[in-house]
Symmetry: C2
Subunit: 249 residues, 2 copies
């Protein structure tokens, strides 16, 4: 758990990790069994909605937020990432005291794979081991326009906080520094706007380069469909337990 986080942020991250973790890291349940067991408890519309969402989902581009001091900002970025189909969401905490805020994510964390890291190094190691290029949004001489990035390749887009941007530690670990074009007098956008511009750019870039955005493998699609069923059905754990008992009994 992040140190220094207030209760609101702790709740958000704990809840996100709890739901994310249900089927990851050696799942005790077969995704197909979960889906078959829970599907009768869902409306056809809900199942169709889940499939529509899955069709637009990707793990190829991950969102990383670092040092956000405002829970509301984290929620806003989660909401945008979820709405645009970016499934992996990394939160790097680090001694910051989070300030509570009104809810703005509408529970978007429920539909994302949320990963919480105590340090930029731990997050970067995880990403690099999985072949992600780390792209930090940062305005300096070494930065190139975001157009230069090919978002059809595994890419983690790192967004820093409003005051300090991405940390020096994270910049040192990043493969590239990019800027989002700004042609006006205003020198920065607020973090939820900057995240929206960066993620929408990545979304459009993927469409322009390859003609599609969602690109789950069959295994990812199955696992995520099971996770979404779990998160959609009230009392899903009890229903699954009863079904397990029957199949074993």
């Amino acid at each position: 758990m992040p140190y220094g986080a207030d209760q609101d942020m702790q709740d958000l991250l704990a809840r996100a990790q709890r739901t994310s973790g249900l089927l990851s890291g050696g799942p005790p349940l077969d995704p197909a069994f979960v889906i078959d067991t829970l599907a009768p408890h869902m409306t056809p519309e809900r199942l169709a909605r889940i499939d529509a969402v899955l069709a637009g989902r990707t793990y190829t581009v991950a969102t990383v937020v670092e040092g956000l001091v405002n829970t509301g900002n984290v929620r806003a970025v989660m909401r945008t990432a979820e709405g645009l189909g970016f499934q992996d969401f990394h939160v790097i905490t680090g001694g910051e005291v989070f300030k509570g805020s009104e809810r703005v994510s509408q529970g978007a964390e429920k539909w994302l794979d949320v990963h919480v890291w105590d340090s930029p190094a731990a997050c970067a190691r995880h990403l690099k081991e999985r072949g992600f290029a780390i792209v930090a949004t940062h305005l300096d001489e070494a930065a190139v326009p975001i157009d230069a990035v090919d978002f059809t390749q595994p890419t983690a887009l790192v967004l820093g906080n409003e005051r300090d941007g991405v940390s020096e530690a994270m910049l040192a670990l990043a493969d590239r520094r990019v800027v989002i074009p700004m042609t006006g007098f205003v020198q920065s956008f607020n973090i939820s706007v900057a995240a929206a511009l960066g993620l929408y750019h990545a979304y459009r870039d993927r469409l322009a380069r390859q003609g599609y955005h969602g690109d789950l493998t069959e295994e990812q699609r199955l696992r995520l469909r099971a996770a979404y069923c779990l998160r959609s059905v009230r009392r899903a754990p009890e229903i699954l337990q009863r079904a397990l008992a029957r199949s074993e009994g």
Copy 2:
């Protein structure tokens, strides 16, 4: 002035109109005279910055916000529009009580042509007389994806408030209804994020279709350069008055 607006919003809009109005509607001063008189009071860096901003400016796409109840949201949208080079900014007020908020626009209103309207009809009339297509962002059956819009043509992008979206009155006046793609479970973005997505989409669409974004005429460029000099030099009115007296004396 909007009725029902609180002091914060009134201040914002009054300041914006005051600066916008300095050179519009039958300017008392020749723009070239303003520039020549004020240029010696500015650093070369400032003048270069003004020219760089002018190069990325357009009047072809206008931003319209309607019924925003939160001053902070208006400021955030202004900041995004300014940062992306969209010069014309319309605010439709209408009996809403504005809630004050922290400053987030960083004075972006200073660099925009801000127009304030009491009703959707008055705003739409102004836009239609000038040949703008009115495009409302609205999620319903009649809406098409925003990709369908050609933002190289004169277009006003209308953004409604978070609770109700664009008003029925404005929808009836709109030429098209568009949606910003959302592939997730989240059904809406917050207004500053929705505005960022819509305006960034328009910016990229212009680049993709015609290869450039900024498209001021020489007359617009000259007038806006004069306006930016006026807004950049402290005591500009006094300096201009002295210069006028000299030239007449």
